[in-house]
């Protein structure tokens, strides 16, 4: 069966199956088990209402449980076993990993990414949001800066491979160097700084996201506070930094954490651009180098990533609970 046919069949059966499940289960509940009539009508309605939410939730909960909750435990257990998974080795995978210089580089680089990418994206996002708010063609500018959001990380990496190309007739960076008489360099092989050249790609993608959300927040600022500041003689910079930014601090944190989480998951850019060579590995790409080879090591790296995400997760849940009250 060709993949296209297979896809069509799946859409048909998958969607049909889902619809049938919800429809039939509700039908059964109302018509067969607890019909809202007869001598026990009132009791039946109440019982049906107790069961119904779980009918609605069942597919979602089982998928969440299997694809997101079980792996947390499953990965941890797997990381305590050897390469092929048949022998319990305790924390051996972790101790060899921490001693591996490759892991240490990946860990340090990942730290740099977490420091730089969210900060730069949020900064540029805020800058563009504020600047375009006052322009007639602001929405067009926003669309264009938002556009990289639609592009895959692989596509974005290829786009920037052109910019970074070694050849002064292909790469913009080297063309500019050439203009000043400097010889061509391969920016992806310049130790330490090459990490930043990779990060720029993610900043380029994420600035649009930060901009959209921050400009929404800027619009939500009550005009009176801004007007009062202007009447008191504040200049535009004071209005921005002392009146506007403090009022959208909450949104800035949300944007910052969202991008931080993304940084912890992204592996495509490093994989496509350098394959982790020249000292540019980060944890997700380091993990992929063990995938299919040594599942014990791969899951150990994954679990380290999970531990780094944990504080953000707790913060997220607290935030959500506070909002619900």
């Amino acid at each position: 069966m060709s993949p296209m046919m297979q896809g069509i069949v799946t859409v048909f059966f998958g969607v049909g199956g889902c619809v049938a499940y919800f429809w039939l289960s509700n039908l059964a509940l109302d018509k067969v088990f607890f019909p809202p009539r007869g001598p026990h009508a009132g009791r039946n309605i109440n019982r049906a209402n107790v069961i119904r939410p779980w009918l609605f939730l069942l597919p979602a909960l089982s998928a969440l449980g299997l694809y997101l909750m079980y792996p947390v435990v499953g990965s941890f257990v797997r990381s305590l076993h050897n390469r092929s998974g048949d022998e319990f080795v305790g924390f051996d995978n972790y101790s060899t990993m921490f001693a591996d210089p490759g892991f240490q580089t990946a860990f340090t680089n990942n730290f740099l990414w977490i420091l730089f990418v969210p900060a730069a994206s949020t900064f540029f996002g805020l800058l563009v949001a504020q600047l375009t708010d006052q322009l007639k063609w602001g929405n067009i500018a926003k669309s264009l800066i938002f556009m990289p959001m639609a592009i895959s990380f692989v596509g974005a990496s290829l786009i920037w491979k052109f910019v970074y190309a070694n050849n002064a007739d292909v790469g913009l960076i080297n063309a500019i160097r050439d203009m000043f008489g400097a010889g061509p360099i391969d920016v992806l092989q310049v130790g330490f700084w090459n990490n930043f050249f990779l990060m720029i790609i993610l900043v380029w993608i994420q600035t649009g996201f930060a901009m959209v959300i921050l400009s929404g927040a800027l619009r939500g600022i009550p005009e009176e506070t801004v007007e009062a500041a202007i009447i008191d003689g504040a200049n535009p910079f004071q209005v921005f930094f002392k009146i506007k930014v403090p009022q959208i601090k909450g949104t800035i944190t949300v944007v910052w954490t969202t991008i931080t989480i993304l940084v912890l998951k992204v592996f495509d850019i490093v994989y496509t651009m350098t394959g982790g060579n020249f000292g540019t590995d980060i944890l997700p790409s380091y993990m992929m180098s063990y995938m299919f080879r040594d599942d014990g090591r791969a899951t150990a790296v994954a679990f380290v990533i999970m531990l780094i995400v944990l504080p953000v997760m707790i913060w997220n849940i607290r935030q959500a609970r506070a909002e619900m009250r």
């Binding site: 297979q6 290829l158 959500a320």
Partner: protein, 374 residues
């Protein structure tokens, strides 16, 4: 608020110019790729895409036949024209491989062993040597080839590189993986927004927590699980994986939206005797269209652009490559220096998301804002 900048023309100028600059910086890389995808490989390596609107100087070499030399005085002379057809113009020329363009057209080049060469703009050349010429000498020259844009790269990539197969595979992964989670999430979101039951708050908290679980964690245990139940690496497996990974965001976005729907409508429908199932399908689902659309776009972009899940959950043979895997694992290796082909491949893979993005941007932005701004 406009009057902050409006009150000072100088500041307005600064704003305009800095936004133009930022937009340019953001656009240039993509424009470069787009332009390059239409140029042929020789032109790409001869001049930057920013010069692609101008003629490109390209170098050629032509062997001239030694046996056409005629003695003239004490010299042996070869005369002729470097072009087979007239019409081109020589810009520079030279007589040796190491210095192919040292002389401008019309000058006389002094070569080794007292030989001399003159090439005119129209291609006429005179080659002289004091000694008899035994081996065919080569004349090197450069000429301006006009800008050459074509769809050749796209044709190559779609016909001979299996990119068409990858395109279809990507579609096959994306469509089911977009539709199925929406349906499942919509029911769950309704239950979490409008139904009363014990443990609701806890489930919402879990969903919010799961938003940040790194995908990496799921790869090994789930691949083993898929192998155990006999799916292995297959399309069915990747659909299930994308469904699971997309659900937290879907439930979160849809629940946030549904909670905001007016309570009166839903309650009056219930008073009239509608069951929750009817309220959901007849009232809440149609009203939630903006949120459904925005999540659909997210999930579509995310599954279309995904590399990691496809690398792990799809078989690694070239028959099942999606476009991102095709580009990252195949083209970048085998066609590493073939910029035109790479650019065309990249554009094939980002064309659909870009179209979706520019037509549905409104919903995308609305979805983002619903999820993050309180």
């Amino acid at each position: 608020m406009e009057n902050i900048a409006g009150s000072r023309p100088a500041l307005r100028w600064v704003t305009n110019i800095s936004v133009i600059l930022l937009v340019l910086i953001w656009l240039l890389p993509t424009i470069g790729l787009l332009v390059s995808s239409f140029r042929d490989r020789d032109q790409i390596s001869a001049s930057g895409w920013w010069l692609s609107a101008f003629a490109v100087e390209q170098n050629f070499g032509v062997k001239i036949a030694a046996d056409t030399a005629t003695p003239e005085g004490d010299l042996f002379v070869i005369k002729g024209n470097v072009f087979e057809e007239t019409g081109s113009e020589v810009i520079r020329f030279g007589g040796s491989r190491s210095a192919p363009t040292d002389y401008a057209a019309g000058e006389t080049a002094a070569l080794t062993r007292d030989r001399a060469l003159t090439v005119q703009v129209n291609g006429d050349f005179v080659y002289t040597s004091p000694a008899e010429i035994t081996r065919n000498p080569t004349v090197y020259f450069s000429l301006a080839s006009p800008p050459d844009f074509s769809l050749d790269n796209y044709e190559t990539i779609m016909t001979s590189s299996n990119m068409d197969r990858a395109f279809i595979n990507t579609l096959t992964v994306t469509i089911p993986a977009t539709i199925i989670p929406i349906l499942i999430a919509a029911f769950a979101a309704y239950a979490l927004a409008w139904m009363d039951f014990a443990g609701r708050g806890l489930i919402i908290a879990v969903v919010v927590g799961l938003l940040v679980v790194p995908l990496q964690l799921a790869l090994v245990p789930l691949l083993q699980f898929h192998n155990k139940i006999g799916i292995g690496q297959s399309f069915l497996g990747i659909w299930m994986a994308h469904t699971g990974f997309g659900l937290p965001l879907a439930i979160y976005l849809l629940r946030n939206y549904m909670v905001g729907l007016p309570r009166d409508i839903i309650e009056s429908a219930k008073v009239d005797g509608a069951t929750d199932f009817q309220v959901f399908t007849k009232i809440v689902l149609p009203l939630s269209f903006p949120a459904l659309a925005s999540f659909a776009i997210f999930q579509f972009l995310w599954t279309w652009n995904d590399l990691l899940v496809a690398k792990v959950f799809l078989p690694s043979n070239s028959e099942s490559w999606v476009m991102t895997v095709k580009i990252a694992d195949d083209l970048l290796g085998s066609r590493g220096g073939d910029w035109g082909i790479l650019a065309a491949a990249a554009f094939v893979s980002i064309a659909v998301p870009l179209i979706v993005f520019f037509t549905m941007q409104r919903y995308l932005v609305r979805g983002l804002l619903a999820g993050s701004v309180k």
